[in-house]
Symmetry: C2
Subunit: 319 residues, 2 copies
């Protein structure tokens, strides 16, 4: 089979590409490297059947670019996904979400193949309902510093809905909650990579707010496993994918310090505007619909693997 | 002054164009006539200084099209705005909202002029807070039959926010609540025009649901007046514009029957999916910030004028 992964050079994208390559499939990665440095391609370049194209899904119609190729499945992961990155290019982020969505949807419609949208728990914004089910409509500020991503992803869901309704496109929509693991960027501003890199360098661990806000952290292998189940299932509505185990940011910092045996101290800083206080997936639907057993990797084990990865990155001078 | 009005052939757009023309300004109307039939141009064509271009804001970069022209102000009203129209072209609607927004924002940035976005009470979805203030984040289903419009308009607000922040574009965002008056399309599925045309033809008046859902109806002159105040004010965040007087749909039907002296009977039909139960603007911000006195035209007078308009349309065979 031949799969297209947009954003394939990113954290999740590279794991997904590698999964398919390991199973003997052909994979084409499309990425504009706006929020990844291409270094994840080193895990993929050795596989036969891997192709990488540097292009922007808002600029190049994929149906034109791939006019001689037919895909058997498409994963749309192209978008800056961490606040420092998407807030640094907010207009491009919204357009990547919306124009990028129509681009992959047009291609999937042409090729009559399944297309999976990497949606996000950010569609719930700063939720007032816990845990969040897929029915919850969210609490998003449409006119704020996170809106470029949140509203872009919401509008992309609307487009996926309408292509399914109007053009019979075979869509999947995964609402991805916080995920962590090897190949996260050291500098992407996400809390797990931030804390680990700070701890490994014995630098102060920066908590925004008082650290009592909670997050659920899903290890990347669990996330990819559930995403693939969704892709092969016949379910065309949004599905939450994540780990419902909740930890406060302070607990995470303490775990990281313990695992890395770090001398870092915790420092507290102002909470950014519109930062969600709590977010946790209700994964009942995923378990029932995808026959998914739920996450298998506990936070301690996942953090240990992630720490190993960043230690190696530091040792090799890549951070 | 030279103003650009996208969607200038529509209901609100044509009133806005005429206002400027009456005051001796030049007006360029851009419209693709996807949800208007061009008949409103008959009110504008007689004015010197009126130009109309048939183009699609998702297809043609306005900065290229108007490379020899500089505008002093832009009003972005281009979008199908009634559910039957936008649900008939959902993908195009989302793209009009999002790509259209970047298009006018790019032009306003180039011309260093103010650009006003016609946003909508639909950003509040089916609200759980009454009346709605601008702080309320809404209750929108991102994956449903109204999402193309609601999420498109929310994403457009995000883009206006980010152009203001990043490119210093001089933005205005009007969240427009239900508006009615002469030049509504007879067939656009909005409740006021529906009821009046049905009543004038002695056909059954179709209420969806039990008629107890409420709406606030703002007469077009009041809306345009407030929108102009916003345009000339120095306030760059969203502002509700509408009439906070609430009436149930059933009350509206009875008023219309009385005014038209109609033999129509009321019939009840299933409520459409995601139809809001109640919507009413809190216009405190508009009153304080724009020194707006609030709506001046009561529903009875506004309906009488609107009935006169549709009677004339019927008499002239245009319905």
């Amino acid at each position: 089979m031949r799969y297209l992964v947009t954003g394939g050079a990113g954290f999740l994208g590279s794991h997904l590409c590698e999964h398919f390559l390991k199973h003997g499939h052909e994979v084409t990665c499309v990425d504009n490297f706006s929020s990844s440095d291409g270094s994840n391609l080193r895990y993929l370049g050795g596989y036969e059947g891997f192709l990488s194209a540097c292009l922007d899904v808002t600029q190049t119609p994929l149906s034109d670019f791939f006019d001689q190729v037919k895909f058997d499945g498409i994963f749309n992961l192209a978008c800056p996904a961490s606040p420092p990155f998407y807030q640094n290019m907010p207009i491009e982020t919204t357009l990547t979400c919306v124009v990028g969505a129509t681009n992959v949807l047009d291609l999937a419609t042409r090729d009559n193949c399944t297309v999976l949208q990497a949606s996000t728990s950010e569609v719930y914004g700063d939720p007032e309902v816990h845990p969040q089910t897929e029915e919850y409509r969210g609490n998003v500020n449409s006119f704020g510093p996170r809106a470029c991503y949140d509203e872009g992803k919401r509008a992309a869901e609307a487009l996926f809905h309408d292509y399914a309704e109007r053009r019979n496109t075979d869509i999947r929509v995964a609402r991805i909650f916080n995920t962590y693991g090897p190949r996260m960027l050291a500098n992407d501003g996400r809390v797990v990579s931030n804390f680990i890199v700070q701890a490994l360098q014995d630098k102060p661990i920066t908590i925004y707010g008082d650290g009592s806000q909670s997050r659920s952290f899903c290890y990347v292998d669990d996330l990819i496993s559930a995403m693939l189940r969704l892709f092969y299932a016949d379910y065309k509505r949004p599905v939450n994918i994540g780990n419902p185990g909740e930890f406060t940011i302070k607990e995470l910092a303490e775990k990281v310090i313990a695992i890395t045996n770090s001398k870092s101290e915790i420092t507290y800083h102002d909470l950014p505007v519109d930062d969600p206080i709590q977010r946790c997936p209700d994964i009942t639907l995923a378990k029932e619909t995808l026959l998914w057993e739920g996450p298998q990797v506990c936070l301690d084990r996942g953090l240990e693997d992630t720490v190993q990865y960043f230690m190696s990155e530091l040792k090799d001078g890549r951070i």
